[in-house]
């Protein structure tokens, strides 16, 4: 018997909802909203994947400039703190390694 259930979104509706979620920065909401049937439709639709490619470009051209912070100073501090933390972890790991090999020798 054919499936007459029409509660699932069609592929054009799925694309519109993906585009909306990308534009609003809430992709997880879109991903969670998918039913099993809709996920299957997306997976099997070449058109969806091709259209998604353009949607990403349109999103970038239309709204990409809003994400560029005028002053990157604060962001640079975050990057530097991240690097410092990795340096510390590395130093800690090599110190532990050294003490372990000293104990082994003794």
């Amino acid at each position: 018997m054919p499936n007459t259930d029409n509660t699932h979104r069609e592929i054009q509706e799925l694309l519109a909802d993906y585009a909306g979620a990308l534009r609003d920065g809430c992709l997880p909401t879109f991903l969670k909203s998918l039913t099993r049937e809709e996920a299957k439709r997306i997976s099997e639709s070449q058109d969806f994947w091709e259209a998604a490619e353009v949607v990403r470009l349109m999103n970038s051209a239309g709204f990409g400039d809003h994400v560029v912070t005028p002053d990157v100073g604060l962001f640079i501090s975050r990057v530097d703190a991240g690097i410092a933390s990795r340096q510390k972890k590395k130093a800690g790991a090599s110190a532990r390694e050294r003490s372990r090999s000293t104990v082994d020798v003794q």
Partner: protein, 190 residues
């Protein structure tokens, strides 16, 4: 390539970690806008973009090997996307497939896809190309896309065009596919 960026890249591939750390500031200054715009294509969320980019820069500091022979901005973006950004993008929604029916591979293809021919077009060129291609569309198709890019909802677009939301979604879908064919032709010619 910008002289500032060229120098930063040279310093960034230095063998000692402290020199690389010092080189990070000019490198971030020279590349932040390019990288964050590129990430925004896939995530659309400013906070997530910054979090991913923070890890990307730290990864570059830790292992800058892939950036040794960079000659231009396009090559830099391609290398950074393929070797650093993509890995981090894949991690953003790694656990999403537990609460979504979309497979892990499909989530990854949506958030961290393979680079297509048009993905490396710079932001300014992309705007110009889209503007040119939109001019080639039928008036109704162009209007729907332009209104969407202005940030209007599908319901508002439907009201403007005097049609239903369903018809707008179908119109957008067909138009986007049409735009893709035109974009592909443009990129192949280029």
């Amino acid at each position: 390539m910008d002289k500032l960026l060229r120098n930063a890249l040279k310093q960034l591939t230095a063998p000692d970690a402290e020199s690389r750390r010092r080189a990070m500031e000019p490198f971030v200054r020279a590349t932040f806008a390019i990288f964050i715009r590129h990430l925004h294509r896939y995530l659309g969320n400013e906070v997530e973009c910054e979090d991913v980019l923070e890890d990307v820069y730290a990864d570059i500091w830790e292992n800058p090997e892939h950036l040794r022979a960079i000659e231009n901005e396009q090559q830099l973006l391609r290398t950074v996307y393929l070797y650093y950004m993509r890995k981090r993008l894949r991690e953003v929604y790694r656990r999403m497939n537990r609460s979504s029916y979309l497979s892990q591979t499909d989530v990854q293809n949506l958030v961290a896809p393979e680079l297509s021919l048009c993905d490396l077009i710079s932001q300014s060129e992309l705007k110009q190309v889209l503007h040119k291609l939109l001019g080639k569309l039928k008036a109704r198709e162009r209007k729907a896309i332009e209104l969407w890019m202005e940030g209007m909802s599908n319901r508002a677009i439907a009201n403007q065009l005097g049609t239903t939301v369903g018809a707008v979604k179908m119109l957008e879908f067909r138009t986007v596919l049409k735009l893709r064919r035109m974009l592909k032709e443009y990129c192949e010619e280029d």
